[in-house]
Amino acid sequence: MRELQGPNAGAVYELRDLCVLGRALDCQVHIRDLTVSRRHARISKVDGRYVVEDLGSGNGTYVNDKAVTRHFLSHRDVIRVCSARFEFQEHEQRPDAVTYVGDPAAMAQIVKRVDAAQPLFRQDAAALTTVTDPKAVIAMAERLETIYAVSEAISSILDLDELLPEIVNRVFAVFPKAERVLLMLTGDDGHLVPKVVKRRSETDDAEVKVSQTILHEVTTQRNAVLSHDAMEDQRFKGGRSVANFGIRAMMAAPLVWRTEVLGVLYLDSFGIAAFTQADLSLLTGIAGQSAGAVGNARLHEELLKRQRLERDLHLAERIQQSFLPRKIPKVRGYSFSARYDPAYEVGGDFYDFIRLPDDRLGLVVADVSGKGVSAALYMARLTRDLRYFALAESDPARVLGWMNRAVIEFGQDDMFVTLLYAVLDAHGRRLHFANAGHMPPVVRRRDEGDVLVLDQVSGLPLGVLPDAEYEADSFELIPGDSVMLYTDGLVEAMSPSREMYGMARLVQAMASGPSDAALLLERALTSCRDHVGDAPQFDDTTVVCVGLEHPDRPPDAAITAREEPPRTGEIDLNQGAYRSRRPRPRTRS
C-alpha cells in the first residue's frame, strides 16, 4: 500500500495479516493528523483477501471516495483517512503468493548456468575490444548499457521499501517476455523471504511456485540459472497456451554482495524459448548491481536504526526519570525508602507512592516487559491509571482487576506487567496487598526474628488474560517490622559465576538487618552487590522498603503532605498524576 498524499506521502507499507491506521504512535500506519482517530481503520486479511474496516472513527474511512465500514480491497483502490490517501496495490506487492516447492529433478531442468562471480557481461567488457563481428559488438554494448542504466536508476535509492519495487520494475522493463518477476531477500534466519512480485497480466493471480532445487543451486553455488520447468501450473489448465502446455522458462540470479547472498531475482515466462543465454548474462549483471544497491540501503537502514535506538534510549531514560517519585512520603511512626537502579539499558521497572484518604498510602512496585520508549511511555500511563483506580477503590485485588483490563485494552499483545500493589493502613498498622505475577513481599518480624515471604496470593501478570482475577491478603505490622517490595532484578542478579543472588540470600540479609527502612534497603542492596561483584547486570533493580518504628509509640498516622515532585520541565507526560488536587476517579462502564 502506498501513501499518495499525507504526512508520509510516498511511503510504501507492506500489509501483513493486520495493520491499523491511526494517530496513535503504535499504529502500523501512523498518521500525524489531529482529525484522524487514534485507531481509525484497520486492514486485515480474510481468506487471502485484504479487507479495510473503519474502527468507529470520528471522520470516517473512504474507499474510492465512498464511505465504508467494511470493504474488500481491489488493486488500485484508494483509501482515504481524513487528509491522507493510500493506494492499495495488490498485484505488485503480493509477497505471500509464493510457495517454494520441492521438485523431482526431472521437473525443473537447468539448461544454462552462469557463475555469478564471473558473469558473461564482464567477459563482454573485456572482449569488446577484440571481437570484430559488428552484431556481437552491438549486442554486448547494448547489454552493458542496460546494466549501466539500471545501476544508475537504483544505486542512489537508500530506502529499501522504495528500492526493491524499483529493481523489479527495471527487470520487468528489460525483459519484455517475463510474465512474473519476483525479488526475494535472505532473512535473518537464512531463509529467502519474497519481497516484491510483479506480474505482466492483470488477471494473473496464480501463486508463483519456485523450485527449491533451483534456489538451492542459486544461493549455494552462486550460479545464475536458466531452467525449463514443467511443473503443473494452474494457469495452463484453461488451455490458454496449448502449444507450451505446462512448460515454463525461468531464470534466477543471486544478489551477491561482498561475500553474502543478499537475495535472489527470479523471473519466469511461458514457453521454452522465452529466455536466452544472453538474457541470463544480462540478468546476472543486473542482479549484481541490485545487490550493491540493496547492500548499501541495508547499511544505511542499520545506521538510521542505530541512531534512532540511541535517541530512543535517551528519551526513554528522561521519560522514566520524569515520573518516578522524587520524594519519599513521610508518615509519623513509619520510615520509607526507595531505590531504582537502572541496568545499562533503560528497563521496565517502576515504583510509586500514592497518597490515599484515611491515613492510607498506596505502594506500587512493577515491571513492564519490554524496554525503550514504548515501555517508558507505557509506564507513565500505568502510573496514571493506577492512581485513579487506587483513589476509587480500596480493595487492592479489585484495583488489580481494573488495571488488568486497562492493560488488555491497551492492546499491545506482547506487553505484560508484573505489579505488586499494597495499601498501608498507617493508623490500623496493616498492609493490604494484591499481586499480579510479581515478586512476593518479604516481611521481617523483628520480635520473632523471622523473615516471611508472602507468596500465598498471587495472580497472573496484568495483560495476559482479560478475565484474570486477583486475591488480596493483609497482615498486621508490629513495631520494628519491616517490609520489602522489589523487582526480580534484585533476586535474579547474577554473580560472575552466573549464580543468582536468590531469595535465600535476601532473606538472610534481612534477618540480620536494621528495622529502619533506609538502612535495611541499603543492607539488602549491599548484600546483593557483594554477590554480584563486577558482573554486568541486564535488568533494573527496584526496591521499596517500609518500616514501622520501634520502640512502640502511639502511631499518629497523619500523613504529611508530600511535596510535589519537581518536574524536569522537558517532559511532561503524566501531568495530572502529580497534581496535588485529587483527580476524579475514572468511572468505567
Binding site: 535473518d188 534466519d189 521496565g348 516487559s369 499483545d413 506482547d414 506487553m415 495472580g459 497472573l460
Partner: protein, 113 residues
C-alpha cells in the same frame, strides 16, 4: 541462540524450542508466529523440553501468541516445561493461564477433546 522446529499434527502446530528465548531471539519467533497466524493456525503447542532460558521478552512472545489465538477461539498449550523456564512460569503464575502437559501427545490430545 534459538532453534525451533515446527510440525503440524492435524490442525495443531507444534513448536519445539531449543536454546534461549530472550530479547535477542524473540523477534525471530515473533516472525514465525506472524506467519502462523497468517495461515490461520490457531492451535499451538510449545514444546519447551529443549528451552534453556527464557526472559520477559520471550514470555512476551508466547503471551502475545496466546492472546491473539484466543481471540480467534484457539489456544496455546505448553508441553515439557522444565528448568529455568519452569521457574519463570511459576514465578509469573503463568500456570494459571496455560495448560501445561508432561508430553507433547497429551497437549495435542487436549485440543481433540
Amino acid at each position: 541462540m534459538l532453534d525451533y522446529d515446527r510440525q503440524e499434527r492435524g490442525d495443531v502446530t507444534i513448536f519445539s524450542l531449543k536454546g534461549n528465548l530472550d530479547a535477542l531471539t524473540a523477534p525471530s519467533l515473533k516472525k514465525e508466529i506472524e506467519s502462523l497466524l497468517a495461515s490461520r493456525k490457531i492451535n499451538v503447542v510449545f514444546d519447551l523440553a529443549g528451552l534453556e532460558l527464557i526472559d520477559s521478552s520471550g514470555v512476551g512472545a508466547i503471551v502475545s501468541l496466546f492472546k491473539r489465538v484466543r481471540t480467534l477461539q484457539g489456544d496455546v498449550k505448553i508441553a515439557r516445561l522444565q528448568g529455568q523456564p519452569a521457574e519463570i512460569f511459576k514465578l509469573l503464575r503463568l500456570d494459571k493461564a496455560f495448560d501445561i502437559f508432561d508430553t507433547i501427545d497429551r497437549a495435542v490430545e487436549r485440543f481433540r477433546s
